[in-house]
């Protein structure tokens, strides 16, 4: 069950990220997770929003370039070794991780959420699920 992430193109200059958050705030959108990737002259903001469709519309209508990307969101225990177990599973399945970031869990402090983009989404998901890890849906994140 992949989750829809919004990837936004941002020119690397002061105020660009703020312009984006202003549009999202105006439309009453809450970001559940956010990660930034940057190069010398541009960056990509990766967002998981509570209302993907409205967020996409708000961004596009205001001249932002945004695309939807399927990512996986897995719950891990909020304790030492939690992430390691997940990564070992992906190593065993010979899946490459392109990028990864974390966010807060809505299901209590004993849990954490890892969001990641992999070369083979389906293969990764079935490997992780078979090891007892919990895949979050768009609503659960």
């Amino acid at each position: 069950m992949s989750v829809k992430q919004i990837s936004v193109f941002l020119e690397n200059k002061p105020g660009m990220l703020n312009q984006m958050t202003a549009e999202l705030a105006k439309s009453g959108i809450n970001m559940r997770a956010l990660s930034l990737a940057e190069t010398k002259d541009f960056g990509i903001a990766r967002i998981i929003a509570d209302d993907t469709l409205s967020a996409m519309n708000a961004l596009k209508e205001n001249g932002f370039i945004a695309a939807l990307t399927p990512v996986l969101a897995f719950e891990i225990p909020n304790e030492a070794g939690g992430l390691n177990h997940l990564l070992q599973t992906l190593t065993d399945a010979e899946v490459n991780i392109e990028y990864m970031y974390s966010c807060l869990s809505l299901r209590g402090q004993s849990k954490a959420v890892m969001v990641f983009r992999v070369t083979d989404t389906e293969k990764s998901e079935s490997a992780l699920v078979s090891r007892g890890l919990y895949s979050l849906t768009q609503e659960e994140i």
């Binding site: 992430q5 990837s7 193109f9 941002l10 020119e11 660009m16 990737a37 190069t39 002259d41 541009f42 990509i44 990766r46 001249g63 932002f64 370039i65 695309a67 990307t69 392109e98 983009r117």
Partner: protein, 433 residues
Amino acid sequence: MERYFQPEIERASREEIVRIQNEKLVKQIKHVWEDLPYYRKKMMDAGVTPDDIKTIDDIKKLPFLSKADLRDAYPYGMLAKPLKDCVRIQSTSGTTGKRVVAFYTQHDLDLWEECCARAIVAAGGTNEDVCQVAYGYGLFTGGAGLHGGSHKVGCLTVPTSSGNTERQIMFIMDLKATILCCTPSYAAYLAESMKEMGYGPDDIPLKAGIFGAEPWSEEMRHNIEEMLGIKAYDIYGLTEISGPGVSFECSEQRGMHINEDHFYAEIIDPDTGETLPEGSQGELVFTCLDKEAFPMIRYRTRDICVLTREKCSCGRTHVRMRKPQGRTDDMLIIRGVNVFPSQIETVLLNQGYAPNYQIIVDRVNNTDTFEVLVEMTPEMFTDNIGAIADRQAKLSAGLLSMLGIKAKVSLVAPKTITRSEGKAVRVIDKRKV
């Protein structure tokens, strides 16, 4: 073995060519003096009469014509024959509001088509070939010119016109087309599409392509040649002078032979109008030596070019022109290299981008900096930073190959390139020299 459509004239001695040019120019100037009041007035203003024109060298005495004259004279002011003698018009796209309507008598069409036939034969065409003309048909000279040329050579002509890629490929494969005529960007697109359909160079029956009507780079030529398994020939022309076939490439692929028994070429200094010696870079000027209905005399093309009379191994003796380096109206000199915004536009279009860019030139520590801003588009954007960086690098490489100097390519947010009165500002030169 090199073949020629009209060997006597294509391989004529220098003396013979000059003799023909002398004779035709004298006759042509009498014709325009008598039948083209617009040019007669120009000659009178310059204090020149037909009696002053005895040899081709006297051409320097004659006044220039430019795009502005064509605009003033639109639609009938530059017509030098009665309408009853004219059989066709062709026209430019007029996208810049400067539509040109050119008239042709049957004689004019014949000489134009013969020039195209020379180009097809130079590309290896014979009456055994199947020649697919995928230039646009209609007002555009591309389709009409090569179509006529293909008939003159006796090829089986396949008049597909432009577009409908699937059908183009079907005809190439089913009819075993051997020669393809179209714009280089369309050839590249066809090549990509054929590759996607699984056709390699060995499956494709084409052996030659005649590509023109827009600038293209050597890199693009090699890509097309490799993917289609052909030899790709450049062809040059403009509606004002006739259309494609004003000049064309031979097997040597080093410059285009100008059909100078019909079109006399000069290189001038665009600022002073002075004729420059062979080998100099300057503005290309054409005189139609024997066209009847629309006889442009010393027409300033605004194309920046170099001419050479160096001996060509193909055996043709006609003067060669280098691929135009750009336009006089917008040339920049960066690190001593001539750069034309149109070249950058070509690279963007060749790589499938919208031509939305801005050039920023500055001077830091006595060295010119050269940056090209390109607006990010939804088509170009992906979540993968590496893929975007690859595209950026490919654009840089394309620019280097086209311009000969390195440019920094920066991707900027959409609609951030400065626009004045709705038109994008293409060049910002911050150098204080």
